[in-house]
């Protein structure tokens, strides 16, 4: 089973238990984001990826261009765990 199928099963399990009012809010927020025009402003294939320097979990600076000197970089944006 691929990641998408696994996530869909998790989602179905969660949505079966969650209160309808909460789900309505989540779904409305996702639709509003989709329709906000944000997808027209995101970076696209062929654009330059803006360089950055950010702190890792050891409080060390990590720079994108420095990493690229070694190999292409898979860059993942992750929301967090609250």
């Amino acid at each position: 089973m691929g990641l998408k199928d696994k996530l869909n099963r998790m989602k179905e399990g969660y949505e079966a238990k969650a209160p309808k009012e909460s789900l309505d809010i989540l779904h409305r927020a996702t639709e509003a984001l989709k329709n906000s025009g944000i997808m027209e402003r995101v970076v696209k294939v062929g654009d330059k990826g803006p360089d950055f320097t950010l702190k890792n979990t050891e409080e060390q600076d990590v720079n994108l261009h420095h990493l690229l000197e070694q190999a292409p970089v898979v860059l993942i944006f992750y929301r967090g765990k609250w």
């Binding site: 691929g2 990641l3 998408k4 996530l7 989602k11 909460s22 809010i25 989540l26 409305r28 927020a29 996702t30 509003a32 984001l33 989709k34 906000s36 944000i38 997808m39 402003r41 995101v42 970076v43 696209k44 294939v45 062929g46 654009d47 330059k48 990826g49 803006p50 360089d51 950055f52 950010l54 702190k55 890792n56 979990t57 409080e59 990590v62 994108l64 261009h65 990493l67 690229l68 000197e69 190999a71 292409p72 970089v73 898979v74 860059l75 993942i76 944006f77 992750y78 929301r79 967090g80 765990k81 609250w82």
Partner: protein
């Protein structure tokens, strides 16, 4: 591979340890880098209220009260800095298949 999250360093440390991750998680205060990639957004007011009800303290975790997040994204940046692959979805419940990303990486000879 690096992951970027708006969370404070200490929360990224907790996840890295819990999941025993071998790659770096970088902290992006205020989603400033996410904004440069065009993927930063502000949560809807009713969504913020819901998160607060469920005790999901995005503000405390991120160290600011902007209630902004990045859209979950997976990109490949080629050696010359060009974006070679981009999977960005406004629906946070949808994530791309890892196999698709690996295939794109192979094409770059990585």
């Amino acid at each position: 591979m690096v992951a970027v999250s708006p969370q404070l360093v200490k929360h990224n440390q907790a996840i890295k340890k819990e999941k025993n991750l071998s790659f770096d998680i970088l902290s992006d205060p205020g989603n400033q880098v996410a904004a440069q990639y065009g993927i930063k957004y502000k949560m809807a007011d009713e969504l913020i209220k819901l998160y607060k009800q469920f005790g999901m303290k995005v503000d405390e975790h991120n160290g600011d009260d902007s209630w902004t997040l990045p859209m979950p994204s997976r990109l490949i940046i080629d050696r010359d800095g060009t974006i070679a692959y981009a999977e960005i979805n406004p629906d946070y419940t949808v994530r791309p298949e890892p196999e698709d990303t690996l295939a794109a990486l192979k094409e770059l000879g990585a």
